[in-house]
């Protein structure tokens, strides 16, 4: 049995909620009109892209920070119509294919590229054929800063100073940045540049004869799915560690890697988007991943006679080290 006043109070409470909901809906629409929509363009559905999209939605749905609504553009090459882009403040292109698609679009909101290798982003930017304002086409690189990778080497291989780099057509572009970074880290570099897969093993054998550690740099010819095995086996034969650039490398048999997961990049994306001043169509310069993970292959460490701290301890040690600008 409910008394009349209580019933009234309940009604009032409900109507207040309804009002609030209405206001909220209005605000949301108003917000969208004001440019609070993020449009996701995935390279394809599923896999790492969906993992990223879900993590981004989850992060943006949770406070703190200004609310942003996520819509998804259909994958494919068509430039979205104005109706689709209504209220869109930023397009987040996920993966290289999405980046290249978005790079071809004219007159769209600023594009933030994620899950893209640095060299690919720079190449796409240079090739896009017109003067695109930097603030309209930016990225969160998938690559770790070189300084962070070198810090990892110094951390787990103290006293090992000779770093070998086997570079191919893509990673050769990193050399001008790698050399000073290695010098700043107090290390030495030995590098060879190759053009074809057949040259890998001979070049690697020459490098490993004198180097202490091999630093893998992403490349379409050198460090690929097809070559990983023979490269790892060659490093084993020389009893030299390989520092990879992904969890996959560590699982396959590299000593260690520092890398960022799609989820970590999604959280960084959310922070970046929320920090943008509302209504201003401008993106910050391309940045490296801020959050990262460290993985060590313990069997390989043991075989190399290394006693290493836990992955978590290595990560916090690494996070505490300065990463000089490259």
């Amino acid at each position: 049995m409910t008394s009349a006043p209580a019933l009234l109070a309940m009604l009032a409470w409900h109507s207040r909620r309804a009002l609030l909901a209405l206001a909220g809906a209005f605000l949301l629409c108003g917000g969208a009109l004001a440019g609070d929509v993020v449009a996701l363009l995935l390279s394809e559905n599923g896999g790492h892209y969906t993992e990223y999209a879900e993590a981004l939605r989850r992060t943006l749905a949770a406070p703190p920070g200004r609310p942003l609504r996520v819509i998804e553009l259909p994958p494919g090459g068509e430039r979205p119509g104005e109706a689709q882009l209504a209220g869109v403040e930023t397009i987040v292109a996920v993966g290289v294919r999405a980046m290249r698609t978005a790079a071809a679009w004219d007159g769209v909101p600023p594009v933030l590229n994620v899950l893209v290798p640095r060299t690919s982003f720079e190449k796409t930017l240079a090739e896009s054929g017109r003067l695109r304002r930097r603030t309209h086409f930016s990225a969160i690189h998938l690559d770790q800063p070189l300084a962070r990778q070198l810090n990892l080497i110094r951390l787990i291989l103290p006293g090992k100073t000779r770093v070998a780099a086997l570079v191919g057509p893509d990673s050769a572009q990193l050399l001008p940045r790698l050399r000073p970074a290695i010098a700043r880290a107090g290390l030495e570099i030995a590098s060879e540049e190759i053009a074809a897969e057949a040259e890998i093993i001979p070049a690697l054998s020459r490098l490993l004869a004198t180097a202490d550690v091999l630093l893998a740099l992403p490349d379409t010819v050198v460090f690929t799915r097809d070559t990983a095995r023979s490269i790892l086996l060659t490093t084993y034969r020389h009893q030299k560690p390989l520092i990879g650039f992904s969890q996959g490398y560590v699982n396959a048999g590299a000593l260690a890697a520092v890398y960022s997961t799609p989820e970590q990049i999604a959280r960084q994306t959310a922070e970046l988007l929320r920090a943008l001043p509302p209504g201003r169509a401008a993106l910050p310069s391309p940045v490296a991943p801020t959050d990262f993970s460290v993985a060590v292959n313990r069997s390989v460490a043991r075989a190399l006679g290394l006693d290493l701290p836990s992955d978590a301890a290595l990560k916090s040690a690494l996070a505490g080290l300065p990463e000089a600008e490259q």
Binding site: S43, G47, H48, G95, V96, R97, R100, L115, V116, P117, T119, S120, K123, T124, L142, D143, D170, A195, A196, A198, E199, I201, P202, A209, T210, P218, D219, T220, V221, F223, T224, R225, D226, A228, R229, S230, L232, L233, T234, Y236, R237, Q239, F245, S246, G248, Y249, N251, A252, G253, Y259, P262, N297, R298, S299, V300, R302, A303, L304, G305, D307
Partner: protein, 698 residues
């Protein structure tokens, strides 16, 4: 169009997207390199002393045969021997007890035992294995039955072959010299999910080239007839089924003819056919970063055939009654002889790490040996023997300074019953560079089929005189095994010290005290005089060979091994061994005296230096004191120096690397001083030998 599609798929797999690097390079799984065994256990963690022979040492040593490489192992006895019985080839034995069959060592190639069950040991000269396909050889100096099973008695030789992924392209090697010539062709290729290599070798080997004619120590010695020609084919394919699963397929064949024999009539000069073939399948799955499952199955088949019926002459014999008789060619030697040994083996193994301090490997296997010999097993039928085993090894590291290896293998063999071989080893680190090692273990060597079930009965036809009351046939029971032998047993104690000198350099010191008992020895039973039941089988006035568990030996050894890289251009390998064998019981007349079966002192040295970017030189020295192998001759010690000089070169191809290649020309001189070294038998005289080789990779 289809080609276009494949090309674009291939690009995607290579981490390429529209001409630039794609994110897949960073995010995708890679095929796991599933070979914990490919990674060496660091020397400071090994439970026993280990000598590692890598590809560079194989090249620098200038060896032509795998067995010759073991001359670099401290405490190892190696002789190139032309055996007077069945299996010609090398003799390899650790800590003495060397006999023609080297049956007290376990020898594995990629986890496949090449121990032939009829006589024991590998047939070194017909193993389907090309030196250039070897990645490295690990020699465990000491019993290791807890991990390798019975017959890992005095030591283990573990040969690891090269990964097909590492030998892409073609290789052609040609060599010629005093000791013969050979040609090797190898092709390493790749399909979408597999790497494979196929190697073909053809060899003409002249064996000993200096004939030790005349006499030695009052005994006549004979020129060696030991030429052989061998054809050898080996295939290995590694298939990646999924990123976590890998299937390895291997098969090979080695066969050819070889000369044998020296003493006319007794051991006439003749040709033998020898062939070995094998197939191996290994499936491995990565269950996690520290966990792996593997299943492997292999089949080996060794065959020897010869026909000396036309070469054996008539034998004069005097019956106990005083009547001289003339005997013809005995059965079964009056027809072609055949020995066949087959081994089928399956094994499952699981390794995992329950926590950060503990790693466990455990598994089990089943083996079936089928052996036939028309000469030694009383006919041509197959005799079948089986074996089952269970093993486990735990590596426990309670803290950074202590490491315990505890393992055991339980084996049940259909002719000797069940035995357990345990081992406990402790490695204690004294700071960053020094490790102390102590281990105790027990191992067994099962009798080989010839020892346990040998039965060789010869029937001589009496040619003259003939007449009533005279026998038409005289039986000779040449060999009769007792059938009740126990396995030989070793109880070993080892202390070791390892000093890590950085960059792969190390000094290893080993002190061992081993007690061997129940050693199986051949003994001659004169008839009459022996057991009446045995003597009833043979003609009076003959001797029946049999086996018994008789010998008992204590081996004390001190070994030093120093491997050092001096800068980037010089490598030194030095091995020193002092081995002392003492009989633990009185040696009955006619029984082998083991005390001299290992040289008291031995030294080996390999010094290699990169003289210039293109020139590499190496010097090897092998020195040992006097020794006398079981059934061999008493021979003095000696020193042998080998030299090798090589020039490498390469040629440029077109842009993109097509057509490019590299090569090496090398000259090897063995026994430079022509020091008159004799090995095993006084008949085996090693002269100076020169060998030139050319190797091209393209």
């Amino acid at each position: 169009m289809l080609a276009c599609l494949f090309a674009s798929l291939a690009r995607a797999a290579a981490g390429e997207e529209g001409g630039v690097l794609s994110e897949n390079s960073f995010l995708d799984e890679l095929p796991v390199v599933l070979s914990a065994t490919r990674l060496r256990q660091p020397l400071r963690d090994t439970p026993a002393a280990v000598t590692l022979i890598d590809r560079e040492m194989i090249r620098d040593a200038g060896a032509r045969d795998v067995a010759d490489l073991f001359r670099l192992v401290p405490g190892m006895y190696v002789a190139y021997n032309v055996d007077k019985e069945i299996v010609p080839g090398h003799v390899v034995s650790y800590h003495g007890l060397a006999d023609p069959y080297a049956k007290r060592m376990q020898v594995q190639i990629d986890g496949r035992s090449v121990y032939t069950p009829l006589f024991g040991g590998p047939v070194w000269s017909s193993i389907p294995l090309v030196l250039d396909d070897i990645e490295r050889i690990e020699v465990v100096r000491g019993p290791s039955a807890a991990t390798y099973g019975a017959n890992a008695f005095l030591g283990v030789i573990n040969i690891v072959t090269r990964e097909p992924a590492e030998v892409r392209g073609r290789m052609l090697a040609l060599s010629a010299g005093d000791a013969g010539g050979e040609a090797i062709l190898r092709h390493g290729g790749r399909t979408e999910n597999a790497d494979y290599r196929i190697t073909l070798q053809l060899r003409r080997d002249k064996g000993y080239t200096d004939d030790a004619q005349g006499s030695y120590g009052g005994r006549p010695v004979f020129p060696r007839s030991d030429d052989k020609s061998i054809g050898n084919l080996a295939f290995r394919g590694d298939y990646r089924l999924t990123p976590q699963d890998e299937l390895q397929v291997q098969f090979g064949y080695a066969g050819g003819t070889r000369e044998a024999g020296d003493i006319p009539n007794n051991n006439p000069r003749r040709e033998k056919d020898a062939a070995s073939q094998y197939g191996l399948l290994r499936w491995q799955r990565a269950l996690g970063p520290e966990s792996q499952l593997s299943l492997r199955a292999y089949h080996n088949r060794d065959r020897f055939a010869e026909d000396s019926s036309a070469l054996i002459g008539e034998t004069a014999f005097v019956l106990p009654s005083g009547l001289p008789v003339l005997l013809g060619v005995p059965a079964p030697l009056d027809r072609p002889l055949r020995h066949v040994a087959e081994r089928s083996d399956v094994e499952a193994q699981h390794s995992f790490a329950p926590d950060e301090t503990l790693r466990i490997v455990w598994g089990g296997g089943f083996r079936r040996d089928a052996v036939s010999s028309s000469l030694y097993l009383g006919g041509g039928g197959f005799r079948v023997f089986s074996q089952r085993n269970l093993f486990a090894n735990a590596e426990w590291r309670p803290d950074e300074r202590w490491l315990f290896n505890l393992g055991a293998m339980i084996e049940h063999n259909s002719f000797v019953g069940t035995r357990t071989s345990p081992r406990l080893a402790v490695n204690h680190r004294l700071g960053a560079r020094q490790t102390l090692r102590a281990s105790v273990g027990r191992a067994y060597r099962n009798p080989v089929v010839y020892e346990q079930h040998g039965n060789s009965r010869w029937l001589y036809p009496v040619l003259a005189p003939s007449g009533p009351g005279l026998p038409g046939v005289l039986p000779l029971q040449y060999l009769l095994a007792p059938g009740d032998l126990r396995p030989e047993r070793i109880d070993s104690h080892e202390l070791g010290y390892l000093l890590d000198l950085g960059r792969g350099s190390a000094l290893d010191l080993k002190i061992a005290d081993d007690r061997l008992s129940d050693l199986i020895e051949m003994q001659g039973v004169p008839c009459p005089g022996g057991p009446p039941a045995l003597c009833a089988l043979t003609t009076p006035g003959t001797v029946v060979r049999s086996f018994a568990n008789r010998g008992s030996v204590r081996v004390s050894a001190v070994e030093v091994q120093w491997q050092q890289a001096l800068g980037e251009r010089t490598r030194i390998h030095l091995g020193l061994a002092s081995t002392r064998l003492r009989n633990r019981s009185a040696v009955p007349p006619g029984a082998p005296d083991y005390q001299r079966t290992a040289p008291r002192h031995a030294l080996n040295l390999l010094l290699a230096h990169q003289l210039a970017p293109q020139w590499r030189g190496s010097v090897a020295a092998y020195r040992s004191s006097a020794s006398r192998a079981v059934s061999g001759d008493a021979l003095p010690g000696g020193t042998r120096w080998d030299l090798r000089l090589a020039r490498s070169f390469h040629w440029e191809g077109m842009a993109g690397g097509a057509g490019a290649g590299a090569g090496e020309f090398a000259l090897v001189v063995q026994n430079v001083g022509d020091t008159g070294i004799r090995e095993f038998y006084a008949d085996n005289l090693l002269g100076r030998r020169i060998l030139a080789s050319l190797r091209l990779e393209f």
